[in-house]
Point group: C2
Chain length 394, copies 2
């Protein structure tokens, strides 16, 4: 019986994790849940899973949740809230395995606390690795615990890496769908609408990650995540465009052999893999290999998609550069989604924010959060200036 | 330093093995060589590699080889011949690793002797597994030694299997180029010429294996080999047509994940893998992943290529059936190559020979060789009858 805590239980990965737990009741016990803003879902999850403790994001929701659980005869479930609550869930003494699935830097402290407490981490939170990857991997190594990636690409890499030793890895190949603008001439990027950018060809995801897929910044983040997770230099991670997204990623070994992984594009599969590693257990999520027909590949175009290049540069430079890359991207994408800036203005804004950030290793999560806040301030100011100059020129 | 014996040193796999040994002189020492009929190549190999012992197929060649080595100042190299000589090479006390690459059932006794002597086997000889696989795998298991496949498909499977445990394997997918007649209507199979059948789209190989690729019998043999090597039932091995032959094979695990392996189509790669397993060492045989463009797949058509179905049936039936399948195929293909029978007559002849053979496990290599000889006799008689009836009807 694996005893799990879920950070971000009401989000997409959290729901998928609970769905996996539901399918294998004899294998998984849910010890603790950290929910987001959705009080109703949090209540339902507490009622269904009877965790030892549930955390809710807003203090204002905690009492309501506590009252409703009491009315439901579940007063033994402890209700906590905010960052301290999330950390309580992340470090619950009965939990073996923590799923880190809170979106954004809000999940950083709790994730770091989990790994410091010696928990095995399943990581779906991009920021954990992009912004604080070195701190987290160092703690995991100290405790001798694996970091198990819960996204299709890094999970695929993790699987392929089993075909050799780490010092036998020549290169990691992350596949990329290429997003909806793979074949759009860059001259038309200025006019791309939010609706067009949200129309991802293969995966249905949240808004920010969908835009990040359209700019290839998401793949850039994945390059950085791969560097952190597998302790490889950026130059050893390559991206290959593969529009069908069938092959989730590949590992090239020093002898010239390449292993590739594929499966249904269902997030429950990497979650199941992470939760059961080093075992594999029978699932009904079958890829019908006999239906395989065509797979296409091509190298990525970094001139057309400068965000990918920016990610490589930030990864090489290190320090706060990847923190700034993530923070600036989040702010710029939000500005695009609200209609303030054009699609093709996103990369330049991020580039400036990264340039303005510091190198030099960050020593703590506090320093990471400070660098993050600083980059957000910078980016908002930079966007304001763009908008002002636009008003002025009109 | 790995000390190797090569059975079949003057054949294609033997030459590739020596080429690998040449590239890594600090890793491999050639202890013993079993050459075929090519006296000149045998002499050159002995001079170059200075093995402890060299075996030559024909007794008539042994004295000449011995004399020439003496003249070259290499009288310390022991010269042996025939089956006894090959067995001496296979069981040389100084050898750790034996490459089994003699084509045909002629390699059976020596290969079995090697595995009985506790050597690690690199297997390129199809007959070892198709005809005597159960005997050989049982001996390898008894000595706790791995059987390392030296052909691209099974070597790929071996690599993919590292991604999980044997009891986590759902299915092995062997890829098949489909051969030159993948898109030829079966109504035209009667008129296929030897030259057409020898024109394989992706691999340059010997004549018999090229014809076996055209009938898909080669893939059928590989299904049987996979059953033996990985101790899986025929129903757990599937074939997928993949005309580019880029992906060499795949393994599907119980959780729904699939691992696939690819590399350059160069036999030195699986040889290097087998010789260095469980390590991988740096080679310059790089697949240029960035040049990957299109991969196509489709299920095989067993009505059009009945040899594949025959192989599954023989594998299911067991006993001497797979011995007969191999023997009858060799005789039928030879008859096709010499112009005696038509391409579309091959499967029916083999089917009759397999039907005429016995079930019931074979207990020794002697029994295997007896079943092989019996099937050859049967097949030759069956072909004679076909030819007679043709003459009569004309």
């Amino acid at each position: 019986m694996k005893r799990i805590s879920i950070l971000g239980s009401t989000g997409s990965i959290g729901l998928s994790t609970l769905s996996v737990a539901e399918s294998f009741p004899e294998r998984f016990q849910v010890i603790a849940l950290a929910a987001g803003k959705n009080l109703e879902t949090a209540f339902e999850q507490a009622r269904r899973w009877k965790p030892r403790v549930i955390s809710i994001a807003a203090e204002a929701h905690a009492e309501t949740l506590s009252d409703r659980l009491k009315q439901a005869g579940l007063s033994e479930i402890e209700v906590v809230y905010g960052t301290a609550g999330t950390i309580r869930v992340a470090t619950h003494p009965e939990a073996d395995f923590v799923v880190s699935a809170i979106v954004g830097v809000g999940g950083l402290e709790a994730t770091y606390a989990a790994v410091k407490a010696g928990k095995t981490l399943g990581i779906a939170n991009k920021e954990c690795l992009v912004a604080a990857g070195e701190l987290i991997t160092a703690e995991a190594r100290k405790h001798g615990k694996p970091l198990l990636p819960i996204d299709s690409e890094h999970n695929a890499v993790h699987q392929c890496l089993r075909g050799g030793r780490m010092n036998e890895v020549e290169r990691v190949w992350l596949t990329a769908s290429g997003g909806p603008f793979l074949d759009t001439p860059s001259s038309q990027f200025h006019l791309i609408t939010v609706a067009q950018a949200l129309n991802h060809p293969t995966w249905k995801m949240g808004k920010r990650i969908t835009i990040d897929s359209a700019t290839l910044m998401n793949k850039g983040f994945e390059v950085i995540e791969a560097c952190r997770l597998f302790e490889l230099p950026p130059a050893s991670i390559s991206v290959l465009v593969h529009p069908q997204s069938t092959i989730h990623s590949m590992v090239e070994f020093v002898d010239g052999s390449i292993l590739a992984q594929f499966s249904l594009t269902d997030m429950r599969l990497p979650i199941l893999y992470a939760l059961t590693y080093p075992e594999r257990i029978q699932s009904d999520m079958r890829f019908h290999v006999n239906d395989l027909r065509h797979l296409d590949f091509r190298p990525p175009d970094m001139d057309k998609f400068p965000c990918l290049r920016l990610a490589y540069e930030a990864a090489e430079a290190g320090g706060a550069k990847t923190v700034a890359l993530n923070a600036a991207d989040e702010v710029a994408v939000a500005a695009f989604l609200e209609g303030s800036i054009h699609f093709d203005e996103i990369p330049g804004i991020i580039e400036d924010a990264v340039r303005a950030s510091n190198t030099g290793a960050l020593q703590s999560i506090a320093e990471v959060l400070e660098a993050d806040a600083e980059a957000r301030r910078y980016t908002r100011k930079r966007i304001s200036k763009t908008l002002e100059s636009r008003t002025t020129s009109v």
